[in-house]
C-alpha cells in the first residue's frame, strides 16, 4: 500500500462517520443517497489527494464536495435515484432518541430549497460560521445570511406545529 493510500485510509477511518451523518441530513434521511454522497466525496478526495493535502485541508475539501454533490443532484430535473419497491430494503429503524421527531426534522429539511437546506446543515449541524459556509457553498456571505434567515423561518413553520403535537402526545 502506498503512502497516499495509507494516509487516505487514515483520514477515512477518522472522518467517514462524520461525513455520513452530514450526508444523512443533506439526503433528508435517505441512507442510500447519503452513502452515495459520501462515496462521491471520498472518490474525488482520493483523486485530488495530493493537492488537497497540500493546499486546502482534506476535511474542508470533503465538506465542499459533499455539499456540491448534494446541490448538483438536487439541481437536476431528472434525478438518478432508485425507484421504490413494495418491500423495504432496510426495515429496521435508525436507532435514535425519538424516530417521530427525527422523521419530522428530516421531512422539514426535505421541504427546504436546496441551498437553504445546505445552509442549515452547514451552519447548525457542522457549526460553521457565515464566512466558512459562504466559502464552502461558493457564494457571498450576504447570500448565506439571507438563505439562513429564510431557512430558519421555514423550518420554524414546518417544525413548530408537528413538534407541539408530538409533545402533547407524550
Amino acid at each position: 500500500m502506498s503512502d497516499r493510500d495509507a494516509e487516505f485510509l487514515e483520514y477515512v477511518a477518522a472522518h467517514r462517520g462524520r461525513m455520513l451523518r452530514m450526508a444523512r441530513l443533506l439526503a433528508s434521511g435517505d441512507a442510500h443517497w447519503a452513502e452515495d454522497l459520501v462515496q462521491v466525496a471520498l472518490t474525488k478526495l482520493y483523486v485530488h489527494w495530493a493537492k488537497v493535502r497540500r493546499e486546502d485541508g482534506a476535511a474542508r475539501y470533503a465538506d465542499r464536495i459533499l455539499v456540491n454533490a448534494f446541490l448538483d443532484e438536487r439541481r437536476r430535473m431528472w434525478r438518478h435515484r432508485e425507484s421504490t419497491t413494495e418491500q423495504l430494503d432496510d426495515p429496521e429503524p435508525t436507532p435514535g432518541p425519538d424516530p417521530a421527531v427525527r422523521l419530522t426534522v428530516l421531512d422539514a429539511l426535505a421541504k427546504l430549497p436546496r441551498r437553504q437546506h445546505a445552509v442549515v446543515v452547514l451552519r447548525y449541524f457542522r457549526d460553521f460560521d457565515v464566512q466558512t459556509t459562504a466559502e464552502l457553498m461558493g457564494c457571498s456571505e450576504g447570500t448565506v445570511k439571507s438563505q439562513t434567515s429564510r431557512a430558519l423561518a421555514t423550518m420554524r413553520d414546518l417544525l413548530h406545529e408537528p413538534l407541539e403535537t408530538l409533545e402533547s402526545l407524550r
Binding site: 493510500d5 487516505f8 485510509l9 477515512v12 477511518a13 467517514r16 462517520g17 462524520r18 455520513l20 451523518r21 452530514m22 444523512r24 441530513l25 434521511g29 462515496q39 471520498l42 472518490t43 478526495l45 482520493y46 483523486v47 435508525t94 436507532p95 435514535g96 432518541p97 425519538d98 421527531v101 427525527r102 426534522v105 428530516l106 429539511l109 442549515v120 446543515v121 447548525y124 449541524f125 457549526d127 430558519l152 423550518m155 417544525l159
Partner: protein, 263 residues
C-alpha cells in the same frame, strides 16, 4: 438555535462504525476512478494530438486529400528513343538519356514533403497503351505521354509549386539490346543483363537503379528506376519512380512493377 442543533444531531443518527470492509471499498472505488481518470487523460491527449497534427497537416499548402504526397504534373519524362550508333562489330546503343531530376540550384522550388507512403490497391481499369498494371497507388490516375505512361495524383492542387520530376511515376516499355556478353538494357552499355539482374519482381528478373540528378549525383535514394524483364522475352518494363515523396521502399516499387505487364 440550540434546539435546532440538537434536533439535527438527533436526525443525523449515530455515527456508524467503520469496518475494514468499508475501508477496503472506500479505497477500491477511488482506485478505479483514478485509473479511469488516467486512461481518459491519455486518450484525450492522444485525440488532441491527432487533431492538432491532422489540422496542421491539412493546413500545410502541400497537403493532398488522400494524405499522400503532392505530386504536381510538370513535364514528366516520357521514354526517349535511344540513339543507335554503328560500331564495327555490332550495333550498340548509347545509354538512353532521360530527363534527370533537377537539383535545388536548378529549380529552387521545394519538392513535395514526405508523406505516408501511398498504399497499392487493385487496379481494374486497363491503362492506355501497351502496358497495364494490376495494381496502382491508391487514388492515383494514369495518362499517356508518348509510349510511356505517367502516374500522378489527380487531387493535387497547384502542382507548379513543387520542383519538377519529384512527384510522378513513369512506366515505359523497353527492349533488350545487344551488349558485350549478351543482351542488356538501354541504361547500361557495357554490362549484360546477366550481370545486372539482382532483384526479382514477382517471377521476373529485375534490376534496380537510383536515378541521378542533373549533376549526376544520386542524392535521393528513393528516386529509383526498376527494369523488369518480362519472362524470358526481350521485352522490358521500366518503372521510374520520380515521386520520391512516395517514400516507397524498393519492395513496394518491385511489388508495383511486378503487377505490370504487356497487354
Amino acid at each position: 438555535m440550540t434546539d435546532l442543533k440538537e434536533l439535527l444531531d438527533d436526525a443525523a443518527g449515530p455515527e456508524p462504525v467503520v469496518t475494514a470492509l468499508d475501508l477496503s471499498a472506500d479505497l477500491d472505488r477511488p482506485h478505479r476512478a483514478h485509473r479511469r481518470r488516467c486512461t481518459t487523460s491519455i486518450a484525450t491527449a492522444a485525440v488532441a494530438t491527432a487533431l492538432v497534427v491532422g489540422v496542421g497537416w491539412s493546413v500545410l499548402p502541400s497537403g493532398t486529400t488522400n494524405g499522400a504526397p503532392n505530386p504536381a504534373g510538370q513535364g514528366t519524362p516520357a521514354a526517349i528513343p535511344s540513339k543507335i550508333v554503328k560500331t564495327g562489330k555490332d550495333y550498340v546503343r548509347t545509354p538512353t538519356k532521360r530527363p534527370a531530376p533537377p537539383t535545388e540550384r536548378d529549380d529552387p522550388r521545394p519538392p513535395p514533403p514526405v508523406f505516408t507512403p501511398v498504399p497499392l490497391v487493385a487496379n481494374h481499369t486497363p491503362f492506355p497503351g501497351t502496358i497495364t498494371c494490376d495494381q496502382i497507388p491508391k487514388g492515383w490516375a494514369v495518362r499517356s505521354i508518348g509510349a510511356a505512361l505517367e502516374l500522378y495524383d489527380p487531387k493535387l492542387t497547384n502542382p507548379g509549386q513543387y520542383r519538377a520530376l519529384t512527384y510522378t511515376l513513369v512506366l515505359r516499355p523497353s527492349e533488350m539490346l545487344p551488349r558485350p556478353g549478351g543482351l542488356g538494357i538501354d541504361r547500361v552499355v557495357d554490362e549484360s543483363w546477366a550481370r545486372l539482374k539482382s532483384w526479382h519482381a514477382g517471377k521476373n528478373e529485375a534490376a534496380l537503379f537510383v536515378i541521378p540528378d542533373s549533376e549526376g549525383k544520386t542524392s535521393n535514394p528513393f528516386q529509383e528506376e526498376l527494369y523488369v524483364r518480362q519472362g524470358e522475352t526481350t521485352h522490358m518494363i521500366v518503372a521510374t519512380n520520380y515521386a520520391w515523396n512516395l517514400a516507397w521502399h524498393p519492395d513496394s516499387l518491385r511489388q508495383f512493377a511486378a503487377s505490370c505487364h504487356y497487354k
